[in-house]
Symmetry: C2
Subunit: 424 residues, 2 copies
Amino acid sequence: MGTVLRNIRPVEPERRTIHARFEGKSFETISETRDLQTPNDQIIEGGGRLAFSGFVNAHTHLAMVAFRGLADDVPLHTWLEDHVWPLERLLEPEDVYWCTLLAIAEGIRSGTVAFADMYFHNDEIARAVEESGVRALLCYAAIAPSMQDRGRAEIDASVGIVDRWEGAADGRIRTAISLHALYTCGEDVWRAGIDAAADRGVPIHTHVAETRRETVEWREQTGMSPVMWLDRVGAFEVPLLAAHCVHVDEDDIAVLAERGAFIAHCPKSNAKLGSGIAPIAAMLDAGVHVAVGTDGAASNNRLDMLEEMRAVWMLQRASHEDPMTPSAAQVVELATENGRRALGLDPGGFVEGRPADVVLVDPDRLHATPDHDPTAMLAYASSGLDVTDVIVDGRVLMRNGDLLTIDEEKVKSEVNRLLRRLNT
Amino acid sequence: MGTVLRNIRPVEPERRTIHARFEGKSFETISETRDLQTPNDQIIEGGGRLAFSGFVNAHTHLAMVAFRGLADDVPLHTWLEDHVWPLERLLEPEDVYWCTLLAIAEGIRSGTVAFADMYFHNDEIARAVEESGVRALLCYAAIAPSMQDRGRAEIDASVGIVDRWEGAADGRIRTAISLHALYTCGEDVWRAGIDAAADRGVPIHTHVAETRRETVEWREQTGMSPVMWLDRVGAFEVPLLAAHCVHVDEDDIAVLAERGAFIAHCPKSNAKLGSGIAPIAAMLDAGVHVAVGTDGAASNNRLDMLEEMRAVWMLQRASHEDPMTPSAAQVVELATENGRRALGLDPGGFVEGRPADVVLVDPDRLHATPDHDPTAMLAYASSGLDVTDVIVDGRVLMRNGDLLTIDEEKVKSEVNRLLRRLNT
């Protein structure tokens, strides 16, 4: 038995209505005529909905939904040190499981099919990913001043996730080694992490140059920029997923481009925490691979990639007084295909043989009327809540607004119970 | 017969659950106990929803929803001259009526109770406002190089709206004189408009310093900034609602503060068209009255004040690298009470005697879980689509997601028919 998606309108420059059949995990037939199905096929009537391969959230801490709306309006370092870290110490594995499920549900509801997560209690996170049906790049973020001082245990924990989960859930789970940041891990810890990533053939996921203070202090301490330091310790010898990169200069950008780094641009979080505006237009000019992430919900406060896409163009165009960069088509590309590349996923799209990852968006909304152009509608007018259907790896995760793999009410009640326990 | 709103949670610093009764247009009783109603009262069960007086969209061109998604990604002057203006010439009064209704419906759906509109075919716009039940400040924007060259007719048209509509719809309709902009109206046209506004006791609504080019050229031509020029011609002798004010300097800001001007800050439109980032943090420091508007849907592409509020904090915090300004409470104030002041409305809020303007927002959404703080939820997490109920002047315009005064399907179909006629 296969599935036929009828009457969908791909979000692409050429305007067409297509029908797509998949059996198992990949598209078997893409056609502009209706007579696709074989007997016993399940039919999903698209009714002219917009269709694309789904958003990829290239940097997040899913379980941080627990801290959404808590301690807003403070700077990053205060927020981390005085608010977030003390609460995180109280989280049990089961808490992280429920919070991650809530975050995944929120992501599915707004059209996200894959997440690059960085957190702890990762076995529970992997279980949530496995059950919910999404794709994820998982990692445990090592934090240690040196290999002697907690470093060995932290690197082992990070490697443990790779060894236990790489390729799990039928390949939907991929893993990375993670060093939390330059300023939270000693050089020997970095070198051990890079070696482990190279050894296992997985990427590194880290935070780079998020705040001005961190970047200025790094230069004072080491005499070089965070990006140059990463280059010196060999971090670009493996695929590197670098969240933020707000405070990078022209030379840094040249290195990021040349070394093929993946940037996870998190504009809303950078705005909310007052971290700044990453030079994305310059990065795109230089050929840097830019993907988009929401960061955790505590600093966003949503996990809605449509909102994030809006933040990308708003901040770039406003700060550069340039109405053309990035274009609607560019931001859609950053939030979808560039994210797939950053997470090591096969390309998406309505092409035979490609993964059956599909998100449908209802165009028949007041706020999206009239219906001039699918790309513009997605980039400028649609809401994350207009997403009606989500298919990942050939499995339907949401159908007409109903989540099929996650018990939403149960998840909300478990998260609310946790919050009462933490007494926030 | 009165109406009792039960179990609502005001979006205010103190957290409380209240019950509110209104009969006619104003709140009669606000209470923290449930036993409010008299026999025959209609009961609206709030179920713990967030409640506030609704958003005020302080600058828009409602009927421009027709051009949503058309000619994106071009600079302001190209967009106006090559795309928007040629199409606007084809709009019939009836078209403007339907497009305005669609825009009002979109606004109601996302919690907007009042609009400052600037457009033409204003009698049809007034009819849409009257029927739909919202509040509006309406004006016809005069465009004329001099009083001899079209100016007399344009000013007469602008005055005609005031004379026909001021105070209509039981006071929900207010009017202004409008000069479209400094660069589109001659000095004598400006002086005539100011005299007319003073004479009739209404404000002026205009566009000021939206783009760098316009502002630089204005300085070259007149030797002074747009704000200083406005001061010289006496525009601040009447209440002035100045949209944009992106390219204003410290001296301009001091004048705007001293003269009590109202700024309609339109951050998304300014971003999308590459116009820049208005110095809102500095304006707030100087005590300028800042309200928030979406501008027209063609340059936004939404009329969603929640999205606009997000754009306010994102652009200010990111560009100033300051996570505290504006705060969640400040952006809510700008988008609600400051808008009321800018439009000359009575203050809102749950206080006996104040207008029964109420918007309810459902907090029980994945993307708003957990429920830490109502102000943070509104500023950071809620979506415009979480709005469930809208009451204006004691009349229920939306109940549990159903629009009661606008036939949404009819409106969409009329707007789509118009678009087919224009052959865009």
